[in-house]
Amino acid sequence: MARTASPAAAEDPAGLGRARAAGIAAPALLVVLAFLVFPALWTLYLGTTNYRLTGHAARHPRSVGVDNYTTVVKDPAFHHSLWLTFEYVIGSAVLGQALLGFVIAWLLRDAGGRVKRVIEALVLLAWILPSSVVAFLWSALLDRDQGTFNALLHTQGTAWIVEHPMTVIIIFNIWRGTAFSMLLYSAALTGVPPTQLATARMFGANQWQQLRDVVFPHIRGHILTNLLLISLWTFNDFTPYQITGGADSRSQILPVYIYQTALFDGQMGLGAAIALLMLVINLVVALVYLRLLRDRRLERVA
Protein backbone atom coordinates (compact mmCIF):
# COMPACT_ATOMS: atom_id res chain seq x y z
CA MET A 1 0.00 0.00 0.00
CA ALA A 2 2.65 2.48 -0.93
CA ARG A 3 1.10 5.86 -1.59
CA THR A 4 3.93 7.89 -2.95
CA ALA A 5 1.90 10.36 -5.03
CA SER A 6 2.28 14.05 -4.17
CA PRO A 7 4.08 13.82 -0.83
CA ALA A 8 3.39 17.47 0.05
CA ALA A 9 -0.40 17.03 -0.09
CA ALA A 10 -0.26 13.67 1.69
CA GLU A 11 1.52 15.15 4.69
CA ASP A 12 -0.65 15.74 7.74
CA PRO A 13 -4.04 14.74 6.28
CA ALA A 14 -5.90 15.45 9.54
CA GLY A 15 -4.59 19.00 9.72
CA LEU A 16 -2.92 18.46 13.05
CA GLY A 17 -0.14 20.98 12.62
CA ARG A 18 3.33 20.81 14.09
CA ALA A 19 2.47 22.22 17.52
CA ARG A 20 -0.40 19.82 18.20
CA ALA A 21 1.61 16.94 16.77
CA ALA A 22 4.39 17.72 19.21
CA GLY A 23 1.78 17.95 21.97
CA ILE A 24 0.34 14.49 21.43
CA ALA A 25 3.78 12.94 21.04
CA ALA A 26 5.06 14.61 24.21
CA PRO A 27 3.68 12.26 26.93
CA ALA A 28 5.34 9.22 25.35
CA LEU A 29 8.63 11.00 24.88
CA LEU A 30 8.61 12.38 28.42
CA VAL A 31 8.04 8.95 30.00
CA VAL A 32 10.80 7.47 27.86
CA LEU A 33 13.11 10.34 28.76
CA ALA A 34 12.47 9.95 32.49
CA PHE A 35 12.45 6.17 32.80
CA LEU A 36 14.79 5.04 30.04
CA VAL A 37 17.21 7.80 28.99
CA PHE A 38 17.75 9.28 32.42
CA PRO A 39 18.50 5.95 34.19
CA ALA A 40 21.07 5.12 31.54
CA LEU A 41 22.83 8.45 32.02
CA TRP A 42 22.54 8.30 35.77
CA THR A 43 24.33 4.94 35.77
CA LEU A 44 27.38 6.83 34.51
CA TYR A 45 27.24 9.25 37.43
CA LEU A 46 26.37 6.68 40.12
CA GLY A 47 29.32 4.57 39.07
CA THR A 48 31.70 7.33 40.13
CA THR A 49 30.29 7.67 43.67
CA ASN A 50 30.50 5.63 46.85
CA TYR A 51 26.71 5.62 47.11
CA ARG A 52 25.32 3.02 49.50
CA LEU A 53 21.81 1.89 50.26
CA THR A 54 22.09 2.60 54.00
CA GLY A 55 24.37 4.38 56.47
CA HIS A 56 26.47 7.53 56.16
CA ALA A 57 27.32 7.14 52.47
CA ALA A 58 23.59 6.89 51.69
CA ARG A 59 23.00 10.43 52.95
CA HIS A 60 26.28 11.99 51.87
CA PRO A 61 27.59 10.17 48.86
CA ARG A 62 30.84 11.51 47.55
CA SER A 63 32.70 11.17 44.33
CA VAL A 64 35.33 8.48 44.20
CA GLY A 65 36.39 9.09 40.62
CA VAL A 66 37.19 5.91 38.76
CA ASP A 67 37.82 3.89 41.93
CA ASN A 68 34.74 1.72 41.41
CA TYR A 69 35.81 0.90 37.90
CA THR A 70 39.36 -0.05 38.91
CA THR A 71 37.98 -2.12 41.81
CA VAL A 72 35.63 -3.95 39.46
CA VAL A 73 38.22 -4.57 36.78
CA LYS A 74 40.62 -6.10 39.33
CA ASP A 75 37.99 -8.09 41.22
CA PRO A 76 38.32 -11.85 40.60
CA ALA A 77 34.67 -12.32 41.66
CA PHE A 78 33.66 -10.05 38.79
CA HIS A 79 35.86 -11.95 36.32
CA HIS A 80 34.26 -15.16 37.51
CA SER A 81 30.77 -13.72 37.03
CA LEU A 82 31.65 -12.49 33.54
CA TRP A 83 32.90 -15.95 32.61
CA LEU A 84 29.73 -17.60 33.97
CA THR A 85 27.62 -15.17 31.95
CA PHE A 86 29.58 -16.12 28.85
CA GLU A 87 28.97 -19.82 29.57
CA TYR A 88 25.28 -19.12 30.15
CA VAL A 89 24.76 -17.18 26.93
CA ILE A 90 26.81 -19.50 24.71
CA GLY A 91 25.53 -22.70 26.33
CA SER A 92 21.86 -21.95 26.68
CA ALA A 93 21.15 -19.49 23.86
CA VAL A 94 23.65 -19.86 21.01
CA LEU A 95 24.17 -23.62 21.30
CA GLY A 96 21.04 -24.67 23.16
CA GLN A 97 18.00 -22.69 22.06
CA ALA A 98 19.14 -21.91 18.53
CA LEU A 99 20.21 -25.47 17.74
CA LEU A 100 17.24 -27.19 19.38
CA GLY A 101 14.85 -24.64 17.91
CA PHE A 102 16.19 -25.31 14.44
CA VAL A 103 16.13 -29.09 14.84
CA ILE A 104 12.49 -28.98 15.98
CA ALA A 105 11.50 -26.66 13.14
CA TRP A 106 13.32 -28.87 10.62
CA LEU A 107 11.90 -32.17 11.88
CA LEU A 108 8.36 -30.83 12.09
CA ARG A 109 8.52 -28.81 8.87
CA ASP A 110 6.16 -31.02 6.98
CA ALA A 111 4.89 -33.18 9.78
CA GLY A 112 1.19 -32.74 10.25
CA GLY A 113 -1.44 -33.40 12.79
CA ARG A 114 -1.22 -34.23 16.43
CA VAL A 115 2.52 -34.78 16.97
CA LYS A 116 3.35 -31.37 15.63
CA ARG A 117 0.57 -29.61 17.51
CA VAL A 118 1.40 -31.22 20.85
CA ILE A 119 5.14 -30.55 20.63
CA GLU A 120 4.69 -26.98 19.47
CA ALA A 121 2.12 -26.29 22.19
CA LEU A 122 4.41 -27.63 24.94
CA VAL A 123 7.45 -25.71 23.70
CA LEU A 124 5.37 -22.53 23.55
CA LEU A 125 3.84 -23.12 26.97
CA ALA A 126 7.33 -23.27 28.48
CA TRP A 127 7.97 -19.87 26.93
CA ILE A 128 4.79 -18.05 27.95
CA LEU A 129 4.26 -19.21 31.54
CA PRO A 130 5.24 -16.59 34.17
CA SER A 131 8.88 -16.83 35.23
CA SER A 132 8.02 -17.29 38.92
CA VAL A 133 5.92 -20.32 38.05
CA VAL A 134 8.49 -22.02 35.81
CA ALA A 135 11.24 -21.34 38.33
CA PHE A 136 9.24 -23.14 40.98
CA LEU A 137 8.37 -25.97 38.57
CA TRP A 138 12.07 -26.60 38.03
CA SER A 139 12.88 -26.40 41.73
CA ALA A 140 10.17 -29.00 42.32
CA LEU A 141 11.37 -31.20 39.45
CA LEU A 142 14.96 -31.23 40.73
CA ASP A 143 14.23 -31.37 44.45
CA ARG A 144 16.69 -33.49 46.40
CA ASP A 145 14.26 -35.77 48.21
CA GLN A 146 10.91 -35.56 46.44
CA GLY A 147 11.73 -34.41 42.94
CA THR A 148 10.36 -36.30 39.93
CA PHE A 149 13.76 -36.22 38.24
CA ASN A 150 15.50 -38.13 41.04
CA ALA A 151 12.58 -40.55 41.26
CA LEU A 152 12.89 -41.36 37.55
CA LEU A 153 16.66 -41.76 37.67
CA HIS A 154 16.75 -43.47 41.08
CA THR A 155 19.21 -40.87 42.28
CA GLN A 156 17.39 -39.78 45.45
CA GLY A 157 19.50 -37.50 47.57
CA THR A 158 21.19 -35.70 44.69
CA ALA A 159 20.65 -31.96 45.10
CA TRP A 160 21.12 -30.95 41.47
CA ILE A 161 20.62 -27.22 42.01
CA VAL A 162 23.24 -27.16 44.77
CA GLU A 163 25.71 -29.52 43.11
CA HIS A 164 25.52 -28.35 39.48
CA PRO A 165 23.95 -24.88 39.52
CA MET A 166 25.34 -23.72 36.16
CA THR A 167 24.29 -26.87 34.30
CA VAL A 168 20.83 -26.57 35.81
CA ILE A 169 20.25 -22.96 34.79
CA ILE A 170 21.65 -23.59 31.31
CA ILE A 171 19.35 -26.54 30.69
CA PHE A 172 16.49 -24.63 32.29
CA ASN A 173 16.99 -21.72 29.91
CA ILE A 174 17.08 -24.02 26.89
CA TRP A 175 13.73 -25.42 28.02
CA ARG A 176 12.40 -21.93 28.70
CA GLY A 177 13.39 -20.11 25.52
CA THR A 178 13.61 -22.58 22.61
CA ALA A 179 10.12 -21.52 21.44
CA PHE A 180 11.33 -18.26 19.91
CA SER A 181 14.00 -19.95 17.78
CA MET A 182 11.54 -22.68 16.79
CA LEU A 183 8.97 -20.12 15.60
CA LEU A 184 11.54 -18.03 13.78
CA TYR A 185 13.10 -20.99 11.96
CA SER A 186 9.69 -22.48 11.11
CA ALA A 187 8.81 -19.22 9.40
CA ALA A 188 12.23 -19.05 7.74
CA LEU A 189 11.98 -22.62 6.40
CA THR A 190 8.74 -21.85 4.58
CA GLY A 191 10.80 -19.46 2.46
CA VAL A 192 13.11 -22.20 1.19
CA PRO A 193 11.96 -23.19 -2.31
CA PRO A 194 10.77 -26.84 -2.15
CA THR A 195 11.85 -27.43 -5.75
CA GLN A 196 15.47 -26.79 -4.84
CA LEU A 197 15.23 -29.31 -2.01
CA ALA A 198 13.59 -31.85 -4.29
CA THR A 199 16.33 -31.35 -6.87
CA ALA A 200 19.02 -31.84 -4.25
CA ARG A 201 17.30 -35.04 -3.10
CA MET A 202 17.05 -36.31 -6.65
CA PHE A 203 20.78 -35.96 -7.00
CA GLY A 204 21.17 -38.05 -3.86
CA ALA A 205 22.08 -35.32 -1.39
CA ASN A 206 21.73 -36.50 2.19
CA GLN A 207 20.06 -34.45 4.94
CA TRP A 208 23.26 -32.69 5.95
CA GLN A 209 24.14 -31.81 2.34
CA GLN A 210 20.62 -30.49 1.76
CA LEU A 211 20.91 -28.32 4.86
CA ARG A 212 24.36 -27.05 4.00
CA ASP A 213 23.82 -26.34 0.31
CA VAL A 214 20.15 -25.39 0.09
CA VAL A 215 18.69 -24.44 3.46
CA PHE A 216 21.42 -22.48 5.24
CA PRO A 217 22.19 -20.09 2.37
CA HIS A 218 18.49 -19.19 2.29
CA ILE A 219 18.03 -18.52 6.00
CA ARG A 220 21.39 -16.94 6.84
CA GLY A 221 19.74 -13.61 7.71
CA HIS A 222 17.27 -15.30 10.04
CA ILE A 223 20.04 -17.20 11.82
CA LEU A 224 21.94 -14.00 12.53
CA THR A 225 18.81 -12.17 13.72
CA ASN A 226 17.92 -15.07 15.95
CA LEU A 227 21.38 -15.39 17.51
CA LEU A 228 21.62 -11.68 18.27
CA LEU A 229 18.16 -11.44 19.84
CA ILE A 230 18.35 -14.55 22.01
CA SER A 231 21.88 -13.62 23.14
CA LEU A 232 20.68 -10.18 24.19
CA TRP A 233 17.68 -11.60 26.06
CA THR A 234 19.67 -14.36 27.74
CA PHE A 235 22.37 -11.91 28.76
CA ASN A 236 19.71 -9.78 30.51
CA ASP A 237 17.80 -12.71 32.02
CA PHE A 238 17.10 -12.54 35.75
CA THR A 239 15.11 -15.79 36.06
CA PRO A 240 18.07 -17.93 37.25
CA TYR A 241 17.94 -15.90 40.46
CA GLN A 242 14.55 -17.41 41.17
CA ILE A 243 15.96 -20.93 40.91
CA THR A 244 19.32 -20.54 42.63
CA GLY A 245 18.37 -17.82 45.12
CA GLY A 246 21.32 -15.67 44.06
CA ALA A 247 23.64 -16.31 47.00
CA ASP A 248 25.71 -19.07 45.38
CA SER A 249 28.74 -17.48 43.68
CA ARG A 250 29.09 -20.51 41.39
CA SER A 251 26.00 -19.43 39.46
CA GLN A 252 26.08 -15.63 39.79
CA ILE A 253 25.69 -14.50 36.21
CA LEU A 254 26.02 -10.71 35.76
CA PRO A 255 22.36 -9.71 36.39
CA VAL A 256 22.39 -11.68 39.65
CA TYR A 257 25.85 -10.37 40.57
CA ILE A 258 24.65 -6.78 40.13
CA TYR A 259 21.58 -7.45 42.23
CA GLN A 260 23.64 -8.98 45.03
CA THR A 261 26.25 -6.20 44.96
CA ALA A 262 23.96 -3.20 44.63
CA LEU A 263 20.65 -4.06 46.25
CA PHE A 264 21.48 -6.97 48.57
CA ASP A 265 24.86 -5.75 49.89
CA GLY A 266 23.83 -2.14 49.34
CA GLN A 267 26.91 -1.02 47.38
CA MET A 268 24.99 1.03 44.84
CA GLY A 269 27.99 2.87 43.38
CA LEU A 270 29.92 -0.32 42.76
CA GLY A 271 26.80 -1.98 41.32
CA ALA A 272 26.31 0.92 38.93
CA ALA A 273 29.89 0.56 37.72
CA ILE A 274 29.22 -3.09 36.84
CA ALA A 275 25.87 -2.19 35.27
CA LEU A 276 27.61 0.26 32.97
CA LEU A 277 29.54 -2.61 31.47
CA MET A 278 26.26 -4.44 30.85
CA LEU A 279 24.85 -1.37 29.14
CA VAL A 280 27.91 -1.19 26.88
CA ILE A 281 27.65 -4.86 25.90
CA ASN A 282 23.92 -4.43 25.23
CA LEU A 283 24.72 -1.39 23.09
CA VAL A 284 27.17 -3.31 20.93
CA VAL A 285 24.80 -6.23 20.32
CA ALA A 286 21.82 -3.93 19.66
CA LEU A 287 23.82 -1.78 17.23
CA VAL A 288 24.81 -4.82 15.20
CA TYR A 289 21.20 -6.00 15.20
CA LEU A 290 19.68 -2.68 14.14
CA ARG A 291 22.34 -2.30 11.47
CA LEU A 292 21.27 -5.64 10.09
CA LEU A 293 17.58 -4.67 10.13
CA ARG A 294 18.26 -1.44 8.32
CA ASP A 295 20.28 -3.17 5.63
CA ARG A 296 17.49 -5.65 5.06
CA ARG A 297 14.85 -2.91 4.91
CA LEU A 298 16.94 -1.11 2.31
CA GLU A 299 17.27 -4.36 0.38
CA ARG A 300 13.52 -4.80 0.41
CA VAL A 301 12.94 -1.27 -0.80
CA ALA A 302 15.58 -1.55 -3.52
Binding site: R3, P13, G15, I24, F35, L137, D143, D145, F149, M202
Partner: protein
Amino acid sequence: MKISPRSSAPGAVVAKIGRYTFLSVLLGFFALPMLWLASAPFNAHPTLNGSISSFTLHNFSVLLKDPYALPSLWNSLLLAGGTALLTVGFAAAAAYALSRVRVPGRDGILYALLLLSSIVTGTAAMVPLFQLAFKLHLIDSRLGVILVFTGGLLPAAIFILKDFTDNTPKSYEESARVFGASPFQIIRHIVLPMIRPGLATVTVWAVVNVWGNFLIPYILVRNPDKYPASVVLYTFYTEGGQPNLALISAFSLLYSIPVIVLYLFVSHRYGFRFHGGIKR
Protein backbone atom coordinates in the same frame (compact mmCIF):
# COMPACT_ATOMS: atom_id res chain seq x y z
CA MET B 1 4.40 -38.67 -7.93
CA LYS B 2 7.15 -38.99 -5.45
CA ILE B 3 10.73 -39.57 -6.44
CA SER B 4 12.46 -40.90 -3.41
CA PRO B 5 14.52 -43.94 -4.23
CA ARG B 6 15.99 -44.06 -0.74
CA SER B 7 12.78 -44.29 1.27
CA SER B 8 12.68 -48.10 1.31
CA ALA B 9 16.34 -48.55 2.14
CA PRO B 10 17.19 -49.84 5.64
CA GLY B 11 18.90 -46.52 6.28
CA ALA B 12 15.57 -44.74 5.95
CA VAL B 13 13.98 -47.04 8.50
CA VAL B 14 16.75 -46.31 10.97
CA ALA B 15 16.35 -42.60 10.27
CA LYS B 16 12.64 -42.85 10.94
CA ILE B 17 13.17 -44.69 14.22
CA GLY B 18 15.80 -42.13 15.20
CA ARG B 19 13.43 -39.32 14.38
CA TYR B 20 10.61 -40.68 16.51
CA THR B 21 12.94 -41.49 19.39
CA PHE B 22 14.18 -37.93 19.31
CA LEU B 23 10.66 -36.51 19.22
CA SER B 24 9.65 -38.68 22.19
CA VAL B 25 12.63 -37.50 24.23
CA LEU B 26 11.77 -33.93 23.25
CA LEU B 27 8.19 -34.42 24.36
CA GLY B 28 9.40 -35.76 27.71
CA PHE B 29 11.86 -32.92 28.20
CA PHE B 30 9.24 -30.23 27.67
CA ALA B 31 6.36 -31.99 29.43
CA LEU B 32 8.12 -33.32 32.53
CA PRO B 33 8.49 -30.01 34.45
CA MET B 34 4.85 -29.16 33.74
CA LEU B 35 3.37 -32.37 35.15
CA TRP B 36 3.55 -30.92 38.63
CA LEU B 37 1.54 -27.85 37.62
CA ALA B 38 -1.22 -30.09 36.30
CA SER B 39 -1.32 -32.54 39.21
CA ALA B 40 -0.21 -30.93 42.50
CA PRO B 41 -3.02 -28.34 42.73
CA PHE B 42 -5.53 -31.21 42.98
CA ASN B 43 -3.49 -33.43 45.26
CA ALA B 44 -4.72 -33.76 48.84
CA HIS B 45 -1.15 -34.17 50.08
CA PRO B 46 0.88 -32.27 47.54
CA THR B 47 4.52 -33.23 47.41
CA LEU B 48 7.12 -32.04 44.95
CA ASN B 49 6.65 -34.93 42.57
CA GLY B 50 3.95 -35.06 40.01
CA SER B 51 1.71 -37.89 41.19
CA ILE B 52 -1.82 -37.67 42.52
CA SER B 53 -2.65 -39.70 45.60
CA SER B 54 -6.15 -38.40 46.16
CA PHE B 55 -8.08 -35.77 44.26
CA THR B 56 -9.17 -32.63 46.07
CA LEU B 57 -10.08 -29.01 45.58
CA HIS B 58 -9.08 -28.22 49.15
CA ASN B 59 -5.87 -26.44 48.03
CA PHE B 60 -7.96 -23.79 46.35
CA SER B 61 -9.84 -23.09 49.56
CA VAL B 62 -6.44 -22.65 51.28
CA LEU B 63 -5.71 -20.13 48.57
CA LEU B 64 -8.96 -18.27 49.10
CA LYS B 65 -8.19 -17.89 52.80
CA ASP B 66 -4.63 -16.65 52.32
CA PRO B 67 -4.49 -12.89 52.99
CA TYR B 68 -2.02 -12.19 50.16
CA ALA B 69 -2.90 -14.65 47.39
CA LEU B 70 -6.00 -13.18 45.78
CA PRO B 71 -5.07 -9.52 46.42
CA SER B 72 -1.77 -10.17 44.63
CA LEU B 73 -3.65 -11.25 41.50
CA TRP B 74 -5.62 -8.04 41.73
CA ASN B 75 -2.35 -6.11 42.07
CA SER B 76 -0.97 -7.86 38.99
CA LEU B 77 -4.12 -6.97 37.11
CA LEU B 78 -3.82 -3.30 38.10
CA LEU B 79 -0.16 -3.16 37.07
CA ALA B 80 -0.76 -4.96 33.77
CA GLY B 81 -3.93 -2.99 32.97
CA GLY B 82 -2.41 0.35 33.93
CA THR B 83 0.74 -0.27 31.92
CA ALA B 84 -1.21 -1.46 28.88
CA LEU B 85 -3.47 1.59 29.02
CA LEU B 86 -0.63 4.09 29.31
CA THR B 87 1.52 2.32 26.75
CA VAL B 88 -1.20 1.99 24.13
CA GLY B 89 -2.52 5.54 24.69
CA PHE B 90 0.83 7.30 24.64
CA ALA B 91 2.26 5.13 21.87
CA ALA B 92 -0.75 5.54 19.57
CA ALA B 93 -0.64 9.33 19.91
CA ALA B 94 3.10 9.50 19.35
CA ALA B 95 2.96 7.02 16.48
CA TYR B 96 0.26 8.99 14.70
CA ALA B 97 2.14 12.27 15.10
CA LEU B 98 5.37 10.70 13.86
CA SER B 99 3.63 8.97 10.97
CA ARG B 100 1.68 11.90 9.59
CA VAL B 101 3.56 15.04 10.48
CA ARG B 102 7.05 15.64 9.21
CA VAL B 103 9.22 16.11 12.26
CA PRO B 104 12.87 16.83 11.51
CA GLY B 105 15.01 13.80 12.25
CA ARG B 106 12.00 11.55 12.84
CA ASP B 107 13.66 8.35 11.66
CA GLY B 108 16.67 9.11 13.79
CA ILE B 109 14.46 9.58 16.85
CA LEU B 110 12.69 6.26 16.27
CA TYR B 111 15.97 4.48 15.71
CA ALA B 112 17.46 5.94 18.89
CA LEU B 113 14.35 5.01 20.90
CA LEU B 114 14.43 1.43 19.72
CA LEU B 115 18.13 1.17 20.42
CA LEU B 116 17.62 2.57 23.91
CA SER B 117 14.86 0.16 24.84
CA SER B 118 16.99 -2.84 23.92
CA ILE B 119 19.96 -1.51 25.91
CA VAL B 120 18.32 -0.16 29.06
CA THR B 121 16.74 -3.37 30.28
CA GLY B 122 15.39 -3.87 33.78
CA THR B 123 18.43 -5.92 34.72
CA ALA B 124 21.04 -3.51 33.38
CA ALA B 125 19.28 -0.48 34.87
CA MET B 126 18.02 -1.87 38.18
CA VAL B 127 20.37 0.35 40.20
CA PRO B 128 19.36 3.73 38.73
CA LEU B 129 15.70 2.67 38.47
CA PHE B 130 15.64 1.85 42.16
CA GLN B 131 17.39 5.14 42.92
CA LEU B 132 14.99 7.11 40.74
CA ALA B 133 11.93 5.54 42.35
CA PHE B 134 13.46 6.19 45.78
CA LYS B 135 14.10 9.89 45.07
CA LEU B 136 10.65 10.41 43.55
CA HIS B 137 8.98 8.61 46.50
CA LEU B 138 7.71 5.96 44.10
CA ILE B 139 8.83 2.96 46.16
CA ASP B 140 5.72 0.95 47.07
CA SER B 141 3.75 2.94 44.53
CA ARG B 142 1.82 1.16 41.80
CA LEU B 143 2.16 4.22 39.63
CA GLY B 144 5.96 3.98 39.95
CA VAL B 145 6.00 0.38 38.75
CA ILE B 146 3.60 1.23 35.93
CA LEU B 147 5.72 4.16 34.76
CA VAL B 148 8.92 2.10 34.77
CA PHE B 149 7.22 -0.62 32.69
CA THR B 150 5.67 1.94 30.34
CA GLY B 151 9.02 3.61 29.74
CA GLY B 152 10.54 0.28 28.76
CA LEU B 153 7.68 -0.83 26.48
CA LEU B 154 6.92 2.47 24.74
CA PRO B 155 9.68 2.54 22.07
CA ALA B 156 8.75 -0.83 20.56
CA ALA B 157 5.04 0.01 20.93
CA ILE B 158 5.50 3.29 19.03
CA PHE B 159 7.44 1.44 16.37
CA ILE B 160 4.74 -1.22 15.90
CA LEU B 161 1.88 1.31 15.84
CA LYS B 162 3.72 3.61 13.44
CA ASP B 163 4.05 0.67 11.07
CA PHE B 164 0.29 0.13 11.26
CA THR B 165 -0.45 3.83 10.75
CA ASP B 166 1.95 4.12 7.82
CA ASN B 167 0.05 1.32 6.12
CA THR B 168 -3.40 2.92 6.36
CA PRO B 169 -4.54 5.16 3.50
CA LYS B 170 -4.71 8.86 4.20
CA SER B 171 -7.73 9.48 1.96
CA TYR B 172 -10.27 8.85 4.76
CA GLU B 173 -8.65 11.47 6.94
CA GLU B 174 -8.53 13.90 4.03
CA SER B 175 -12.21 13.46 3.20
CA ALA B 176 -13.25 13.79 6.83
CA ARG B 177 -11.30 17.00 6.97
CA VAL B 178 -13.05 18.29 3.88
CA PHE B 179 -16.35 17.69 5.69
CA GLY B 180 -15.15 19.80 8.59
CA ALA B 181 -14.07 17.25 11.20
CA SER B 182 -11.56 18.52 13.74
CA PRO B 183 -8.16 16.79 13.97
CA PHE B 184 -9.13 15.08 17.22
CA GLN B 185 -12.44 13.86 15.80
CA ILE B 186 -10.51 12.44 12.86
CA ILE B 187 -8.09 10.64 15.13
CA ARG B 188 -10.83 9.28 17.35
CA HIS B 189 -13.37 8.20 14.73
CA ILE B 190 -11.18 7.33 11.78
CA VAL B 191 -7.58 6.62 12.69
CA LEU B 192 -8.09 4.62 15.89
CA PRO B 193 -10.64 2.19 14.36
CA MET B 194 -8.30 1.62 11.42
CA ILE B 195 -5.30 0.68 13.55
CA ARG B 196 -7.34 -1.44 15.97
CA PRO B 197 -5.42 -4.68 15.21
CA GLY B 198 -2.22 -2.85 16.11
CA LEU B 199 -3.73 -1.56 19.34
CA ALA B 200 -4.83 -5.09 20.24
CA THR B 201 -1.37 -6.49 19.51
CA VAL B 202 0.35 -3.91 21.71
CA THR B 203 -2.18 -4.42 24.51
CA VAL B 204 -1.72 -8.19 24.63
CA TRP B 205 2.05 -7.80 24.42
CA ALA B 206 2.15 -5.25 27.26
CA VAL B 207 -0.16 -7.29 29.51
CA VAL B 208 1.86 -10.49 29.06
CA ASN B 209 5.10 -8.62 29.72
CA VAL B 210 3.94 -7.07 32.97
CA TRP B 211 1.97 -10.10 34.20
CA GLY B 212 5.05 -12.31 34.18
CA ASN B 213 7.71 -9.81 35.22
CA PHE B 214 9.40 -10.49 38.55
CA LEU B 215 12.39 -8.14 38.85
CA ILE B 216 10.79 -4.67 38.61
CA PRO B 217 8.11 -5.16 41.30
CA TYR B 218 10.61 -7.19 43.35
CA ILE B 219 12.94 -4.19 43.67
CA LEU B 220 10.32 -1.40 43.71
CA VAL B 221 7.63 -2.85 46.00
CA ARG B 222 8.37 -3.47 49.68
CA ASN B 223 4.87 -3.66 51.14
CA PRO B 224 3.48 -7.25 50.95
CA ASP B 225 -0.04 -5.87 50.49
CA LYS B 226 1.05 -4.46 47.15
CA TYR B 227 3.02 -7.48 45.88
CA PRO B 228 1.88 -8.70 42.48
CA ALA B 229 1.50 -12.44 41.90
CA SER B 230 5.03 -12.90 40.55
CA VAL B 231 6.57 -11.69 43.82
CA VAL B 232 4.02 -13.23 46.19
CA LEU B 233 4.72 -16.70 44.80
CA TYR B 234 8.23 -16.26 46.14
CA THR B 235 7.00 -15.74 49.71
CA PHE B 236 4.68 -18.71 50.28
CA TYR B 237 6.47 -20.57 53.02
CA THR B 238 5.01 -22.32 56.04
CA GLU B 239 5.97 -21.28 59.55
CA GLY B 240 8.55 -24.07 59.55
CA GLY B 241 10.29 -22.47 56.56
CA GLN B 242 9.17 -25.18 54.16
CA PRO B 243 7.49 -24.15 50.92
CA ASN B 244 3.72 -24.25 51.38
CA LEU B 245 3.02 -26.66 48.54
CA ALA B 246 -0.77 -26.66 48.82
CA LEU B 247 -0.80 -22.90 48.40
CA ILE B 248 2.01 -22.66 45.81
CA SER B 249 0.56 -25.31 43.51
CA ALA B 250 -2.99 -23.96 43.49
CA PHE B 251 -1.77 -20.39 43.16
CA SER B 252 0.68 -21.21 40.33
CA LEU B 253 -2.15 -22.72 38.34
CA LEU B 254 -4.52 -19.83 38.95
CA TYR B 255 -1.80 -17.31 38.09
CA SER B 256 -0.92 -19.17 34.86
CA ILE B 257 -4.47 -19.59 33.57
CA PRO B 258 -4.91 -16.06 32.14
CA VAL B 259 -1.67 -16.45 30.13
CA ILE B 260 -2.76 -19.84 28.81
CA VAL B 261 -6.23 -18.53 27.92
CA LEU B 262 -4.72 -15.54 26.14
CA TYR B 263 -2.38 -17.86 24.23
CA LEU B 264 -5.26 -20.16 23.20
CA PHE B 265 -7.27 -17.15 22.10
CA VAL B 266 -4.46 -15.66 20.04
CA SER B 267 -3.46 -18.98 18.46
CA HIS B 268 -7.07 -19.83 17.66
CA ARG B 269 -7.80 -16.43 16.20
CA TYR B 270 -4.57 -15.58 14.41
CA GLY B 271 -2.36 -18.67 14.56
CA PHE B 272 0.61 -18.36 16.85
CA ARG B 273 3.49 -18.07 14.40
CA PHE B 274 5.58 -15.57 12.54
CA HIS B 275 4.66 -15.09 8.93
CA GLY B 276 7.72 -14.88 6.74
CA GLY B 277 10.03 -13.97 9.59
CA ILE B 278 9.50 -11.29 12.15
CA LYS B 279 8.77 -7.88 10.93
CA ARG B 280 10.89 -5.71 13.12
